[in-house]
Amino acid sequence: MKVAYFPGCSLHSTAREYDQSVRAVAPALGVQLITVEDWNCCGATSAHSLDPVLSLALPARNLARAQAAGHQVVVAPCAACFNRLKTALCQLEEGGEAAQTIQKVVGFRFHGGLQVKSLVQLFWEDVGVGAIRRRVCRPLEGLRVACYYGCLLVRPPEVAAFDDPEHPRAMDDLMAAIGAEPTSWAAATECCGASLSLVRGQVVERLVSTILAWAQRAGAEAVVTACPLCQSNLEMRRPAHIKMPIFYFTELMGLALGLPDVKRWMRAHLVDPAPVLSRFYPGVGARRGG
C-alpha cells in the first residue's frame, strides 16, 4: 500500500520520535510512505485562530502537492494536521465559495478523489488489526495502557468521519492487537489544553493532572497517544509525583513488531519508560542527564 505522508512540523521538532517510529512501523506493516514533496505547515493553531482563508489555504496547498504527485491517500500522524487537512478537503469537496477561494489562493484545481486519513485510521481501517496481530513478535502482554485520543483525533465527527466521537476504540484495538491491555477509562477524549501550554501553563497543568489521575485510577501503567501536543503536554505539564510514560502508539507498535530503533525513540522521552518497558525490552530508557 502506497500513501502520501504528511509529517507536519511537530514531527520535525518536539515529536521527532513519533516521526521516526512512524517511518519504521509503516513499512513493517506493508505501508509505503511517500513524503509529500515541499510540504508546508498545516497552520494549526495560529492560522485557524486568526485567518479563515489562510487556515484552509495552508493545508490545501499540501493537498494540491499530493494531488499533483498522483496520490490517492494522504496520511497525517498528528491529530491537528489530520484535522486541518481533512477540514480543507471537506471544504474543497463541498465546492462552495470557500473552495473557489482556496483554489485561487493556492493556484490549483481540485479534481476530487483524494482521501485524508489519520495514521491511526489507516492502520485500523486499511491495514487491519488482524494483519498487525500476525506480525507481532514481541507481544506486550500484561502492559496496561490508557489510550488517549484527546479532543481532536476523532472530532468533529462530520470532519474526522471515523470511529465513534464519544467512545473511540481504534487505538484500543491497535493496542490489543500488539498484546497490550487497553483499559476503559474516563478521560480518553478529554482535552489536554493543547496550545494553552504556551500561554496559560497552569490551565494545562490542571487538565493534565486530571487526565493522568484518571489513567492511574483505571490501573494504567502508561498512556498511549497519537498527538504530538497531547504527548508533550502530558509529559511536561504533569504533576511531579505522577511518573507515567506517554507513548506514541507507533512506538509501542514498533516495540511489539521487534523493530531495531526502539531504544533511540525512547531516549527522547521526558518520563523514563524503563520501569514500564524494561520487562519487554531490557535496557530501554530515557536519555540520562539531558
Binding site: D164, P165, E166, H167, S184, W185, A186, R217
Partner: protein, 658 residues
Amino acid sequence: MKRVGVFVCWCGRNIAETVDIEALCRQLGRDAPVAWVEDYKYMCSEPGQQLMKKAIAEQHLDAVVVAACSPNMHEVTFRLAAEAAGLNPYRLEIANIREQCSWVHRDRDQATAKALDIVRSMVEKVARDEELQPLRVPVTKRALVIGAGISGMQAALEIADAGHEVLLVERQTYIGGHMAQLSETFPTLDCASCILTPRTAEVARHPRIKLMVASEVIEVGGYVGNFVVRIRQNPTYVDWSTCTGCMECVEKCPRQVPSRFERGLGTRKAISVAFPQAVPYRPSIDAEACLYFTKGRCGICQKTCPVGAVDYEQKPVIHEEKVGAIVVATGYELFPKARIGEYGYGKYPDVIDGLEFERLNSASGPTSGRIQRPSDGKVPKEVVFIQCVGSRDQEKGVPYCSKICCMYTAKHAMLYKHKVPDGQAYVFYMDVRAGGKGYEEFIQRAVEEDGVLYLRGRVSRIFPEGSKLMVWGVDTISGEKVEIAADLVVLAMAMVPSPTARDLARVLKVSIDEHGFFSEAHPKLRPVESLSRGIYLTGCAQAPKDIPEAVAQAGSAASKVLALFSSDELLHPPTVVRVDPEICSGCGLCVKSCPYEARQIDPVSKVARVREVLCQGCGACAAACPNGATQHINFTKEQLMSMIDTFTGPPDGAGRER
C-alpha cells in the same frame, strides 16, 4: 360600466401615518370606474361597515374595493357586510395597503403613490369580477382519528359522544399510547393507568367507535367532507373474533424476547399481549421473534389454542372507508439514543431514559414497581436525572424545548424518594420550566419536601467506574465542577415526532415543520387545524405537550369536527379554475401542475376537467396552460393583465380617465 366604490381605511395610524389618505382619495375620485370614494379611521369597525353598506345601497355600487389590511384579516368581514347590503360578496376585493405598503415604507409620497397603484389595480380587477355562488358539497358525518393515544382517544370519544361514528386507527396492537407506559402523572401523582383505563374501556365499548388496532392509514383521497381512506390492517396471526383472551398460548410459548412496551427492561413471549390492562386484551404474534416464522417449527400456540384462533396464514387486509373529517393524533417518540454517545445511553445498562424509568416505577412493570437498576437489580442510592437531553441543543439535538421534561423529571425524583427515602436524587437542569396549574408548586415540593438536589448546569460525560457511573457536570451557580458517583442515571430525552408522521403527512398531503411535527394553520388562532380543510391535529403530533394539554387540544379538534358535521352541506369557495373545452387540447400539463389532484383528462372527451371541490384556487394550472383554456375564475388572464397594466402604466395616472 360598473360603478365601483372604494373605501379607504386609515387603520388608526397604521396606514394614515405613511399614506396620505386625502391625496389618495382625491386621485381615486378622478378615475373613471370609481363612482364613490370614502375613507374612515377603522373601516373594519361596526360604523365603518355601516358606512360601506349604506354607500352600496344609496350609490347603487356594483363592485367594491376596500383599501385596508391583508385579505387574510378582514376579507370575510367585508364580504359578509357587502352581502348584507345586497352585493354579491365576490364583487368585493381587498387592496392591501398596510402589510404591502404602509408598514414597509417610510417615504410618505412614494408610499402614497404605491398605495394608489395597488388600489387602482384592484379597481381594474373588481370591475371584471363575476358574481359567484359558493359551491355546495355533501358531508359524510363520520370521522377518522389516526392514533389512539390519550389525545386521539379523547377526540374519538368526544365526536362519538356527540352522535357521530368514529373510526379509530392505531398502529400498535393496543390503545392508550405512551400514557399506558407511565406509572404516575404530574402534578397530582395519580396513577396513570387509573385514569387511562376508564378511557380505554370506554373506547372499546362505545357503540359508535370502530376500533382498528395493528392498522395504518396508507392512502387518503377525496376532500373535506368526502375523504376516501385506505387502511392496512396488519396481521396479528390470531383471529381476534374467535379468540377468548384465555392467554394459554402466551403461557405455553417457549420464546422470550425483550419487550418493546417495557422498553427492553423486561421480556415478553413471541405471542403476547403488551401489558395486563391492554385493550383489546388479545394476543398477537411478533413474526420477527416467533420460532414458527423464523425457524419454521414450533407451532405450540396453534396446538394450545382451545378455539383454534391462531392463524399463521393471516395476511394484511386493506379496508376502504369513507369519512368526512380526519384527526391526526400520531404522538411522539423519544430522541434516538445513538445520538447522545457522551452519556453512554445504550452502552451502559444503568443509563436509562424517562420512559424506562416509568416502567421501573410501574406496578405492572418488570420490577413490579421496585426501583432497581437494570444491571444488577440493586436499589440505587444515588440517582442522577439529566434534563434537556437532546432538547434545546442546536448542535446535536433539536432546538426546541420538549416542554414536559422539567415536570416529569421532578415527578421521577419525587417518586424515587418516596420509594427510596435514604437515597439521593440529583437533577441537572438548564432552566426549570413549570408553567401550568400547580406545576411550580410541584417543583417546590420536590425540592423542599423530598430534598431533591437541583444543580443548574450540564453533564459533560458519564463513564463507568466499578459498579458506579461517574457523572461529570458543572454547577453553574457555584461555578464548581461536580462529580457524582451515581448508581442510576435517568435521561430526560427530547420528544420527537412519531417515525410514521412523515409518511402520513405525505399521504394526507398536509405539511409538517422542519422537525416533523404537523403544522397548524395558524400558531395562535387556528392551532388544531391543518392547512388542509377537514384535517385536524391534536396531541404531540403537532408539538410536544403534556396530558392536560393533549386532552384539551383533542376537545378542540373534536369541536372542529362537530362544527363541520353540523350542516349537511359544505360551502366551497367558487374561485376555482374553469376550462374552455373548445380551446383545451388535452395536453395534460394542468394535471401535472396540480398539487391537489383536482385536474384530470376526461377519458371520453379527451379534454381537461376540474374537480371543483378539490381545487384550492392556487392557479398553478392556469399558469401552466399553454393556450389559456384554463382560466382562474375572478383571476382571469384579462384581469391579471389589466392589473399589471395599471402598475406599469404612467405614474401620474394620465390616460386612466376613460
